[in-house]
């Protein structure tokens, strides 16, 4: 079933505050074959916050995660994520198109810290593969 067009422009509630620990950053770095030596988290780390927001969005719209593939991802950083941050992501649906039975969903998530300051803006294009695709 195609995704509801009325979603465009909708902003979802901010995700629950997510405390970033050294252990979480270490696990993330280790998964890509490196050893964490302290300091800022890697550049793609904010995707963890974006996933919090995307998972909540997909659940709210009853979209199956296994039908989603990632089309595009961009990050614009105000500052790197560091352990000790308590971060929240707020997702807005920016665009929605249907191409060949697939929904192309453009989302932007703003990641903010405990003081409300912007840490980074992440834009994701999600491809929702239709059953016949």
């Amino acid at each position: 079933m195609p995704v509801d067009q009325s979603l465009v422009g909708r902003t979802f509630p901010p995700t629950a505050p997510h405390p970033i620990t050294e252990e979480q950053v270490r696990d993330f770095v280790a998964a890509t074959g490196e050893e964490y030596a302290g300091g800022p988290a890697p550049a793609t780390y904010p995707i963890v916050l974006a996933f919090d927001a995307m998972n909540a969005f997909l659940e709210a719209e009853s979209i199956d995660l296994f039908r989603i593939v990632h089309g595009e991802q961009k990050f614009a950083y105000e500052r790197p994520v560091v352990p000790g941050d308590v971060l929240t992501a707020t997702l807005t649906v920016g665009s929605l198109r249907q191409i060949a039975g697939n929904d192309i969903i453009g989302t932007t998530s703003e990641v903010t810290d405990a003081s409300g300051a912007l840490v980074c803006t992440t834009s994701a294009t999600l491809v929702h593969r239709g059953p016949e695709a």
Binding site: Q24, D27, F28, A30, A31, T32, G33, E34, P42, A43, T44, I47, V48, F51, D52, N55, L65, F66, R67, I68, V69, H70, G71, E72, Q73, K74, F75, A76, Y77, P80, S123, T125, R129, A133
Partner: protein, 123 residues
């Protein structure tokens, strides 16, 4: 001249990445689910491949602040059940106005897997 970096991705890496990133999409772990949605097999998280591209950038420019980073996911990286698959990350850097722009080329088996991957750094 930036030295091309080669990384190997295994299914075990994907399981660890799923736990660490919170992306538990089964297309990255379960062959049956992946093929049911028309994929050629278990594929790496696009974000996993993007993380490897970031790893290359941080190897080339240790400690540099990343201002922006983006790419398209144009071809899936299929990860076999046994052994692993190699991904190569090459880059070319240009400087302007105090910023370094790194244009990346990320390939698997000679085929580009990321579209227009680009990182902008403040050195």
């Amino acid at each position: 001249m930036l030295e091309t970096q080669t990384y190997t991705i295994t299914r075990a890496d994907l399981v660890r990445y799923a736990a660490a990133s919170g992306d538990h999409n089964p297309i990255h772990q379960d062959e049956a689910v992946a093929t049911s949605v028309g994929l050629p097999g278990v594929i790496a998280h696009g974000m996993y491949t993007m993380a490897l591209a970031a790893r290359a950038v941080s190897t080339w420019f240790p400690g540099a602040e990343v201002v922006s980073f983006g790419c398209k996911f144009t071809n899936p990286v299929v990860v076999p059940a046994e052994g692993g698959v190699e991904v190569e990350v090459a880059g070319e850097a240009k400087e302007a106005d105090g910023l370094t722009t790194v244009a990346l080329t990320v390939t698997c088996g000679g085929q580009k897997v990321l579209g227009m991957p680009k990182a902008v750094l403040r050195a």
